[in-house]
Subunit: 157 residues, 2 copies
Amino acid sequence: MPHGNGMGPRWWHRRFRGCGYRMTVPRQAILDVLSKTSRHLSAEDVFMAVHKVYHHVGLTTVYRTLELLVQMGLVSKFDFGDGRARYELLEGSKDSGHHHHLICTKCGRIIDYTDFIDEEIKLLKETEKGLSKKYKFKITNHLIQFYGLCDKCKDKR
Amino acid sequence: MPHGNGMGPRWWHRRFRGCGYRMTVPRQAILDVLSKTSRHLSAEDVFMAVHKVYHHVGLTTVYRTLELLVQMGLVSKFDFGDGRARYELLEGSKDSGHHHHLICTKCGRIIDYTDFIDEEIKLLKETEKGLSKKYKFKITNHLIQFYGLCDKCKDKR
DNA sequence: ATATCTGCAAAGACTTTGCATGAGA
DNA sequence: TCTCATGCAAAGTCTTTGCAGATAT
């Protein structure tokens, strides 16, 4: 499930160079994994996927690269409450890939959804505006998550 | 800043008994701390506060009690991204204490806000309904957080 | 009386750090 | 060539677990 927004080895390479960083084999491999696999990978997930192809790449490098990607704004880091961070590549065009998560508190399944995003964005923008004014707080990001039971777990009890 | 919704030692005691649990000195002390102090305490914060009065109470008990309180629905557990869980006592009456958080990504300050809650609840209810239907997902809870820079940190750079 | 709770110590899970070696531009 | 990046091992941090002794009802 590639992105198809014009991202690719060369784009990433330029992006890295622009930030004063170097494009390396491990970094490229990590980006490949993030862009080709389904979402919500933990550092360990990424490590295992990369490790299949490049045995020499270590978990430490995966952590460092993911952190770097988060700082560069290319990757989002989430906490779904299971004690490990999850990462997903951001889409290219602004807001195009904007979505939130439904998290099953029983089996841990995560569903992306993009429904109601328009209404949501509208409300959020208003809210952000009001809150910025009232608390003199400069809002840069927001997080919305729903918790509950997924289709399968709901029926089990 | 006590709650004043009729909660108190006896109410908690009954609540515990109702769930088959016992009210003990450490549990009472932890509830006291949660109900009297300002919010967003980490397990360590609670431990230190309790420890001032009851030297014998251990950190393990604090973790276990907080987990218990979360399961009983008396306490909410949050993750503000700094690697440790935060806990806060829920208000008594339904939705009365409902609020969300502004989190300063620089200094870690957390601001509670209750503004726009009405609009928010309206949209969330709609969204929950739609999502429940579409994904057959039974939603039990939601999380909304805003990240950014607080008044003081915003000006520093 | 007895099932629940507690404290301590130890283990567990995830993540970060130090440092010598290796590699991109 | 000269930084920047990597891998390994070790340490760090928060949280959980095992178990004998203590406690609430």
